[in-house]
């Protein structure tokens, strides 16, 4: 019984760690599209907002405001409309974790 409990826990943790790794990779991939303008891993070399280390809430608010048109923008209002809420959250998580 004890062993089967551990086996179940291993399975659950294993799944979640795989899911975490997958989630991280998908977030990393999704975020990499932003890097062409905002710098590798969000480290802008100047003239564009750095995204690395931006708190998640701040990123979510900004992108939602771009999408709704509440925040004035040049390209971001047009590009942000290509993303779902879930995808924006992935990107926000990724950049919030960058130092």
């Amino acid at each position: 019984m004890k062993h089967s409990k551990i086996a179940l826990a291993v399975a659950l943790l294993g799944l979640s760690s795989a899911a975490l790794a997958d989630g991280h990779v998908l977030g990393r991939n999704m975020a990499s599209a932003c890097a062409s303008c905002h710098g590798t891993n969000g480290h802008s070399v100047g003239g564009m907002d750095p995204l690395a280390g931006m708190p998640k809430d701040e990123m979510l608010r900004k992108v939602r405001d771009f999408r709704s048109g509440a925040k004035p923008a040049t390209v971001m209002q047009q590009l942000s409309k290509g993303y779902t809420d879930e995808q924006i959250e992935m990107i926000a998580n990724y950049y919030a974790a960058q130092k």
């Binding site: 990779v25 990499s32 590009l79």
Partner: protein, 422 residues
Amino acid sequence: MTLNRRDFIKAAGATVAMGSLYGCAGGAKGSGNVVVIGGGYGGATVAKYIRMWSDGGINVTLVEPNPAFVSCPISNLVLAGEKTINDITTSYDGLKKHGVRVIHDTATAVDPVKRTVTLSKNGALSYDRLVVSPGIDFIWESVPGLTPAISDSKIFHSWKAGPQTVALRKQLESMPDGGIYALCIPKAPYRCPPGPYERASMIANYFKAHKPKSKVLVLDANADVTSKGPLFKKAWGDLYSGMLEYRGNHSITKLDVASQTVEFEFGDKVKADVLNIVPAQKAGMIANAAGLTNVGGRWCGVDWKTLESTAHKNIHVLGDSTASSPGMPKSGHMATQHSKVAAAAIVNLMSGQAAPDPMVIANTCYSFVSSKEVVHVAHPYVFNGKEFAVPKGAGGVSPSRNELEAKYALAWAKNIWADALL
């Protein structure tokens, strides 16, 4: 059955070992050899990102004939005298710091069965996966009378930034005031849809300040301006009235080099002091030599989930050489985005994992209409299981030309060069 804290602690120990199967939080690492042909926006970016995302696990060799990267975007500012060639040149040393082996040579052949690339000077390279990102080459027959030799010495295309950018700038500087500069644009698809119209604008901008009696003639094989048409036409009317003339439906039928005269299918002959002919385009030469140009014999078909060629396994094609997904321009920015989809797929595939679903990718093109003002076009592209497409209601252009985006255009350039090469 309940799980207590102790069970989880024991289990957590076991999952640390398991975690390595997934490369921990970093995902797949991969191993093996990748060869990248072409060190432009696409090739440089994919080389860097494969090294980065495989955590140095995958060996990457980049084959590029030019000694340094010279950007096509911003090169029209060099023609206009606003920037120098050095401003748009970046060394490949940054890629070397990522562990990319850079070989300055030309790939002449690919054997997709033996998985080898033949180089013109340095023998052959073996690969597990090959990335072909050679940009465009010209269809010389599209301009009867034009040859590579003439195009390299007298009538420049300047559609690959580098020595021809400098040479065309010199012709413009030597042209007497009152002269005619004519730009011949090929039928789409060609590299950088708004590029010719930016070039015409910026050369008019130069004439306006330095040679005000001169004229810019735009002779377009397309029926009308192919990108940001209303924005360009508004700028031309407001800023260069009487100086810049646009003529659509001008397909070249003959070039007479000695008299610098071009004849067209419809319309009058044109004689120019500076003739800038951009021939029609196709995938870079090596793509054809490798048997990858399976779309009309001109462009390369790819599986958009991985950018793997539909002609040969284990070969990925990026950038201008691809048969574009709907609404996708052939642009430097687009090529970097292809690179990231391909890098993610390659790192997974070389770790024995399935390729991930592609991320949302985007294109942003800024065009200068004067030294101070810019217009943009920007679109996101979402993978639909088969190809990429722009979601309804997304993307668009600048509402009007503006100075703010001139600052963004230059910041974009600095950042995309750094993302690709540093």
